[in-house]
Symmetry: C2
Subunit: 250 residues, 2 copies
Amino acid sequence: MPHRAQSGGLAPVISIRDLKVHCSTCSMRELCLPMGLGAAELAQVDALLGTRVKLHKGDTLYRAGEPFTALYAIRIGSLKTTVLAEDGREQVSGYHMLGDMIGLDGIVADRHGCQAMALEDTEVCVLPLQRIEDIARAVPPLRQNLLRLMSKEIARDQNVMLLLGSMRADERLAVFLLSLAERYKQRGYSSTEFVLRMTREEIGSYLGLKLETVSRLFSRFQDEGLIQVQGRAVKLLDPVALKQVVGQRG
Amino acid sequence: MPHRAQSGGLAPVISIRDLKVHCSTCSMRELCLPMGLGAAELAQVDALLGTRVKLHKGDTLYRAGEPFTALYAIRIGSLKTTVLAEDGREQVSGYHMLGDMIGLDGIVADRHGCQAMALEDTEVCVLPLQRIEDIARAVPPLRQNLLRLMSKEIARDQNVMLLLGSMRADERLAVFLLSLAERYKQRGYSSTEFVLRMTREEIGSYLGLKLETVSRLFSRFQDEGLIQVQGRAVKLLDPVALKQVVGQRG
DNA sequence: CGACTAGTTGAGGCCAGTCAATGTTGGTGG
DNA sequence: CCACCAACATTGACTGGCCTCAACTAGTCG
């Protein structure tokens, strides 16, 4: 099902003006593409941005193989990206929350290399492809930021490779929880208490594990007093001990 | 041990002039950063490039944590990049051959996120960081190419994640061999017969396997008539069947 | 209320890891 | 040139961690 520009039967509680994106008033601007820009530059970026898109839980923002037309910055909510093998196998390649940019992999072939799906009701800012070049020309620091974001994505992917290639199941889950905690913290949320937006199966797919293994590990971590789990609600009781899970024998 | 600008006791068999890099005369230019550029633009890039660096087998081009000063384009030879976990664990994150660009992960933090080591005698072109901005300003198509290369790296990493997260050992090795074959082909070499530049352990590290497993799989593939192996010399006898290894049960 | 999805837990099997012995290769120096 | 050594590679026996299959529970939504 394609994404929709507006949610179904809800009366609009926000004005038309708000529907236009403004980096200058966005709380995520220091994590997002315009990080570090001055007021004048921000105004330029505002003028170049497209509209925002609203997604409901389960909506797809783009699919693998579709023409690459824009990058997206997440304003509210979260998405997962999944890569598909030729034989239909599917793997979650990332979880993305507010302030993150997605779609960076599409530039190479003018087609998206993966699929992006909303894990909850979500809003993204659209950066149309044609305008990215304009932006890059007009605002040099922004060009730098774009490179940085891509570079950051590469560094992140390499860490996931390290996780998938060399860690045991319990280490993977510990790293996953700690990395979520860190990202929530950066965004001003609690780093010890949060609600997972994805299923056990999706976590497993991301970590190269089966859902039963993930479930068992949650139970085990709880038994060991490291965390408290109630469905998708997670509380990190002992982050230090959780860190120690990573990198130790047995 | 740091890299050296020139090899030890050898009399120079190439002229000084050749030591300066020239994209316009480089056979890799259509795979490398200047792909698709016109003659005038090539000349501009030539003027911006730094010198080349020679590495011997085992030499390190850069280490994780070192200040990021340049990107590198491989002229001759090959390198491996490895990421390190805090606990000292190490994983090969990529094999890179002539025409490839490396160091792209360093932009984010002004520090390299991984280590690059030569697998054989190797020469790389140096693109000093300060000049990358100049290049991007002066030659718009080159800016586009830089983005494309980074995007390609992201897409590649995601495929590795798919491999590590969802494939059995034999599938991983088959994918690895086929991807090497493809890359040799793109560079004008035989796609069915080549010499591996890395040890079984390094292959295993890249694929998330132990060296014994890699060795056993080479033997098994040979028994099944898929390949012929003699140490590091590999001949793909039945690439089609090798492709079929990927994605089938048992 | 029934159908469905998500999650938990148990029993058993298998793939890849571990440990160990042996063979092979390539570089070095006498 | 060859003997030597260290690094690399192969193969076997055994182990164990994660997967598979399966049963059951708890929410959720028509």
